[in-house]
């Protein structure tokens, strides 16, 4: 059985019920101190999730390679990559909006491909190279896609922006001379309710050439 450590509970968005006995508030408070502690527990245990024996439904020790750093944590098999990133590792840049593979706000790059992190199980993201919005810039230098977003005023409320920047990064990583049609198709998995598309396309087009 799993321990009673609050961070062993399900990592949940509003649609997933927290384990009995933890309010959403105590759950959230638990996360900050929890992630490190869980990392320690994870490190002490063999990584089982890659084996062809069944694991779970109790939390399973997994290792995720995110922005070049290895993170150890314990998650139930049902935990999606976005919930692991946001609720467990405090990487809240990727946004959970539709949670159904239809908006792109949660886009991260896995092994070079843009993916919907709401629709990938964290356990399945093991052994793969995960890039999130947090990893593409430093304190004093923005990624070219980000710089061009500023240049073209390519955001309004900004909620879709991290996903669009990552989709844009995947385009420019793979192609230094994308046509406008390439940019449009590369961004076609992301929607923006504020309608920033024109600026976003120009930003990505220019970032590739920057």
């Amino acid at each position: 059985m799993s321990s009673k450590n609050p961070t062993d509970g399900p990592v949940c968005g509003p649609d997933q019920e927290p384990r009995k006995g933890f309010s959403r508030r105590t759950f959230i408070e638990g996360v900050g101190i929890g992630a490190g502690a869980v990392g320690a527990i994870g490190a002490a245990e063999p990584a089982r999730a890659q084996s062809s024996e069944p694991v779970g439904p109790d939390p399973v020790a997994i290792t995720l390679n995110i922005n070049g750093k290895s993170h150890e944590l314990k998650v139930e098999p049902r935990v999606t990559l976005i919930d692991a990133l946001r609720n467990r590792l405090d990487l809240t840049g990727a946004k959970k909006v539709c949670d159904r593979a239809t908006c792109g706000a949660c886009t991260v790059i896995v092994d070079g491909d843009p993916v919907y992190s709401c629709t990938m199980l964290a356990i399945e993201a093991q052994g793969r190279r995960i890039e999130t919005i947090e990893g593409i810039s430093t304190e004093d230098s923005m990624h070219p896609v980000q710089a061009q977003f500023v240049e073209h005023d390519a955001q309004q409320c900004g909620f879709c922006t991290p996903g669009l920047v990552m989709a844009g990064k995947a385009i420019v990583d793979g192609n230094s001379q994308p046509s406008m049609a390439d940019v449009e198709s590369g961004l076609s998995g992301n929607i923006c309710r504020c309608g920033t598309y024109v600026g976003v396309r120009k930003a990505v087009y220019d970032a590739a050439r920057a």
């Binding site: 062809s52 694991v55 949670d99 792109g104 491909d113 919907y116 198709s185 076609s188």
Partner: protein, 322 residues
Amino acid sequence: MQNFEYIAPNSAIAAAQALSPKQGLTAVLAGGTDLLSLMKERVETPTRVVSLRNIAALRGVTKQGGGLRIGAMATVQDLLDSKAAAGYASLLQAARGITAPQVRAMGTVAGDLLQRPRCWYYRNGYGLLAMHDGKALVPSGENRYHAILGNKGPAYFVNASSLAPALISLGAQVTVAGPEGERSMALADLFQIPSSASERENTLEPNEIVTEITVPSASGWKTGTYEVRQRQLLDWPLVTASVALRMRGNRVSDARVVLGHVAPIPWRSSEAETALNGQAANESSGEAAGKAAVSAATPLSQNSAKVQLATIAVKRAVAMAG
């Protein structure tokens, strides 16, 4: 999502053995773009999820014999990138219709074929046949995207795969693995119109998985897919048509016409094929084929527009092939 036990075996047989012979208890996970949403909605509540991602034998898109072999776990992007698939115009046109790079990178070809219907009653927990208190909800409900063919009941949903019509028109075969071994069949036979609530829209046993799709050489065939879409992105087509025409001189000697999103299965139209055989492939034969394809259509209360869209899809698919 209900919690589950997770296993990622490294052979197809081991995956089949990890599945329950009882419907609904276990689920096969490929790219997850459909399955995870169904699990979040609790339409699927498996107690064990069997992931296919560690099975190397299921990957790849390669030449085989004179034809093409598509591993079940090959993604839509793998298909688009593959040199081996270059001669299969109608298949690539259908794959290009799936625009989002995220869906292309995650979604697999077998997952596309086996994606569950988009019918909103089904997605909201009323079952494949959309029943409530013994009454079918679709005929008197919101049915503008539902079936216009093969819809005499009890099923009214449409098959949502746009790769299936192209692959069936190309004469594809599918191989499936069960706990005891493999079997192959025409891809068309993977699909069925359920006649009762205990049946699914595919003929897989609950403990079988698709391992590969093979397609004979398309040389000598002219092929084309046309999709009628409401939006260009993040959505399924309203109607699709895929045609494959073998020519003798400038006449069609063998026509295959398969429509998507019109029936609970990818819909092969023998009426349209008859209209094309012996004719030149041109606008007038295309139009005749389109009309023939819907000659037996039985639209529901809100979807008669799909009859016209299907006519146009067939006509334009013929034009694309020609």
